[in-house]
């Protein structure tokens, strides 16, 4: 992070939002990701928003094939990928057409001018060349012939022309790195490590990257150059993490903290598959991953492993949870630990597989037949996915219950700096397998009752292999205590009540009010809206208005003090990426006039959107 003389002359800005956009095959996710990494190492706070089409390779050059990556870098702590980009990198006409509307007025548009040929213009639906007309008058246009300059840079390397062209994303990255004063070394090192053994590709990518960097320096782009200084962050060691990786590591950690082998039963589904991929790479932590034949077998195998004394986990998205519902109900009846992870996406049905939504809360709460309560918790940031994976496992093991952990497509793929925890400070998760008789029969002989409960209403976990404790469990209603099959109505009523009470009694931390406790308006959120709500509340309070925020990690059971907290506010707004699911739960539970703020466009809330709603609610007068 040494400051060069050149950098010191560059104007500083507090924050910058850049959006990389191109065809699915243009490598924009990679370019964005590398820019992010370099920024993280530079010391910025940051937040990212990758967006890609559901098709692996939509027809090249079309609007449907546009893939984008937005990154917000800042010299202070931030919570979202930003309201709107200041800079748009458009690698082809389709990217320009699809993404221009997101850019702020006066923003910078950097285009790969080589791609603006008639064929591509037509594919994007342009009847003219937007670089020539007045389309871009409201913006600062930077035309760069990226394809030809990349080919030129690679021409003496012996790389095939087509392969050289593929490196143009590194040209764009080099150019952006110069314009926004990113360090070069992390990217060069990454190229060398990533493509190790493929010398021509390393050479081409490095040449393209360096050419992009040099282009900025020589092409009189200095009036575009700005720097975002490192942010003041709490002391410690950081890494840049996305939600799915953090969640996978949390599951690894939960295995280590409990001393249980982890068994993941999973079926590939967007946007959850990366958890399966990540865990598959860490078998040395006694993690077994089983790619099942379907979603039902995924959860079934996890439940079977849980019966055998492993930490059973299944990871999926909404359609998968729907398929797993019956098995989750069995887990409720069996009272075995099980972690079900739902990386929510747009629905119903296949819906928007690659876009975010958080409309599975009521399914998590109620989406099983019969009275089948289970704990539900939700992660709020990418890094929080680590903590909540551990928490889900802790509750599951401690209270012998399936636990639903909610994340979403936004948290899954977006990243942020994570202050790494001290491993030694992570709380161990106690596991107590049953090892002996717990009851005496009529003849005075010791016997084992699988449904005899302790003071927390938790039944013993006696796993196969334990001498003397052989017992049968199943989905038929059981007599409390003995666990024998019982069709008795009074016993069933008792068991329904027990299952409800034992979950309701799980202690969860009190809800904390952030912001102005004496405000009239309270914003209540859950899940990934935390970032946008936090940023919004800060802005509004900086503007001299009062507003409060409560964010719920625990959706079932809800914090014990929540009713009292809600009663202190005359206006309660609940932003959700659904049509108002937490709102229903709050109204139902507390008879309060909570109102929804909904967004179901497949993208997370921006602070600007929430600010508009909340200020409208507060009225203009101070």
């Amino acid at each position: 992070m040494t400051e060069t003389a050149a950098e010191s002359l560059v104007p500083e800005v507090g924050g910058l939002v850049i959006r990389f956009a191109g065809d699915s095959g243009d490598g924009m996710q990679l370019a964005g990701d590398r820019f992010t990494s370099a920024s993280a190492l530079f010391g910025n706070d940051l937040s990212t928003l990758p967006e890609f089409p559901a098709e692996i390779r939509a027809p090249a050059g079309t609007l449907a094939g546009v893939s984008a990556f937005q990154v917000h870098i800042s010299d202070h702590d931030i919570f979202t990928p930003g309201d709107a980009p200041h800079v748009l990198v458009a690698m082809n006409p389709a990217a320009l057409r699809a993404e221009l509307g997101t850019l702020i007025d006066g923003g910078t548009v950097i285009v790969n001018a080589d791609a603006f040929v008639e064929r591509n213009l037509a594919k994007a639906g342009y009847d003219h060349d937007p670089l020539e007309g007045d389309d871009l008058d409201a913006y600062r246009l930077v035309r760069v012939p990226m394809t030809s300059l990349t080919k030129e840079a690679c021409k003496d390397l012996g790389v095939k022309t087509r392969d050289a062209e593929r490196s143009k994303n590194f040209f764009a990255l080099g150019l952006l790195s110069w314009m926004y004063s990113r360090p070069i070394e992390p990217t060069i090192e990454w190229i060398e490590a990533k493509f190790k053994g493929r010398d021509l590709i390393i050479a081409a990518n490095k040449a393209a990257f360096n050419a992009g960097h040099a282009f900025g320096e020589t092409a009189e782009l200095s009036d575009h150059q700005v720097v975002v200084r490192p942010a003041e962050m709490p002391a410690g060691t950081y890494t840049n993490i996305n939600g799915n990786t953090a969640l996978a590591w949390g599951l690894v950690a939960a295995g280590q903290l409990s001393g249980l082998p982890v068994f993941l039963g999973s079926y590939p589904i967007t946007p959850a598959s990366d958890i399966l991929h990540e865990l598959s790479r860490h078998k040395e932590f006694d993690v077994a991953t089983f790619q099942a034949e379907d979603e039902i077998a995924a959860v079934g195998s996890a439940l079977g492993a849980a019966y055998g004394g492993h930490l059973g986990v299944t990871t999926t998205s909404g359609p998968g949870v729907a398929l797993k519902a019956e098995t989750i109900g069995l887990a409720v009846s069996l009272e075995l630990p099980l972690v079900i992870v739902n990386i929510q996406r747009g629905g119903p049905s296949t819906g928007l597989p690659t876009k975010t939504e958080a409309a599975d809360l009521l399914m998590a709460m109620y989406g099983r037949h019969g009275e089948s309560p289970l704990p539900v918790i939700a992660a709020r940031t990418p890094a929080d996915c680590f903590d909540q994976a551990i928490e889900a496992a802790r509750i599951a093991i401690e209270y012998r219950t399936p636990v639903m952990l909610l994340s979403d497509g936004y948290l899954a793929n977006s990243s942020e700096p994570w202050l790494l925890p001290e491993v030694d400070d992570l709380e161990p998760i106690p596991v107590g397998f049953a090892s002996g008789f717990n009851q005496v029969d009529e003849d005075g002989n010791g016997v084992f009752w699988p449904y005899l409960r302790d003071e927390k209403m938790v039944r013993p976990w006696a796993i196969p292999g334990t001498p003397d404790l052989m017992h049968r469990i199943g989905g038929l209603e059981k007599e409390d205590g003995s666990g024998n099959v019982s069709y008795d109505g009074a016993n069933h009523a008792h068991m329904v009540a027990v299952r409800a009470e034992r979950i309701a009694r799980i202690p969860v931390p009190d809800a904390e009010v952030c912001g102005d406790a004496d405000a009239d308006l309270l914003v209540v959120g859950w899940g990934s809206t935390w970032g946008a709500i936090t940023a919004t509340v800060r802005r509004i309070r900086n503007g001299g208005r009062k507003v409060a925020h409560v964010h719920l990690t625990y959706l079932n059971p809800l914090p014990a003090n929540l009713g009292e907290v809600l009663s202190d506010f005359s206006t309660i707004l609940v932003p959700e990426m659904n049509l108002g699911q937490l709102v229903r739960m709050l109204r139902d539970e507390y008879l309060v006039d909570a109102r929804p703020v909904s967004k179901v466009t497949g993208q997370p809330f921006t602070p600007a959107e929430l600010q508009h709603v909340i200020l409208g609610e507060l009225g203009d007068d101070a």
Binding site: D286, P467, M470
Partner: protein, 346 residues
Amino acid sequence: MTDTLLPEGGPGDVPPTTRADWQTDQEVRWCPGCGDYSILTALQLLMPDLGVRREKTVFVSGIGCAARFPYYMDTYGMHSIHGRAPAIATGLALARPDLDVWVVGGDGDMLSIGGNHLIHALRRNIDINILLFNNQIYGLTKGQFSPTSEKGKVTKSSPIGSCATPFNPVSVAIGAEASFVARTHDLDRRHMQEIFRRAYEHPGASFVEVYQNCNVFNDGAFETITKKDVRDDMLIPLVQGEPIRFGSDGQFGVARHDGGVRVVEVADVGVDALLVHDEARPDPSTSFALSRLADRPDRPTPMGVYRAVDRGEYGAAMHAQVDQMADSRGKADLKALLHSLPTWTV
């Protein structure tokens, strides 16, 4: 390190047991006369001979009459949900290779709602023993046609006959790459025990179809071949290494024919023309052809082990990968994992 948490069963040698040790105090609630009773008895009598520990034995079932089985075995057991027993047993067997995991279910449970799990458990060669009680009817839901009911079967849900071609469970299992496939029936305890023992001893997934009489909804479905007085002429014993021959005087046999096999009279073709049974043939075609001799129980039907081949068991391969990663990476280090992406320090 973590394995030490998991119990390895009782200390010392396996204590001898009797049938009574394997019986539970639960009242058996199958209909009087149900074929399930004789299967239960056969297994409870066999278990002491296998020399296994009760605490290391688990029965997993789905839903249906047959699926009540675990309640009557004094082992660990799970009566789960319809069709899913092979999936649940897969997770248990993979997590706990030290256990003997048995799966019990009926034709509806395992071939209809749970067909997918069955074929994948067989394909993967999970180390479980699958007993499919085939009575060609839905019993617990009171008499609808099942995926093994014959075409034209008249039931409550098919008043003028079912329209569907049935599965032949042995053919399905062989088609699903099963490494052990056998058939037995509920009227021959010794045969059942011999087959169950072979299933237990086989490494990997063992599939046993048991022709089982439902005396309430499909009475006598198999008696045309399994009753004592017709058995000699209607059941074809499969004996490893022997020419396939049957009939009260050994007058019939099985010979290759037109790419498959057919029943022949020994007098017509001579003993040397008979097919010599080889359950261990790597190519499953001949075993499959044998399974096609009878598409319903009204003609001579092979009984015994159709196929028994050694091929890698899934769990062993899975655990070898865990060991491989552990060996190549050394001690699992959570701190190192958290620091495995680029880091920076403030």
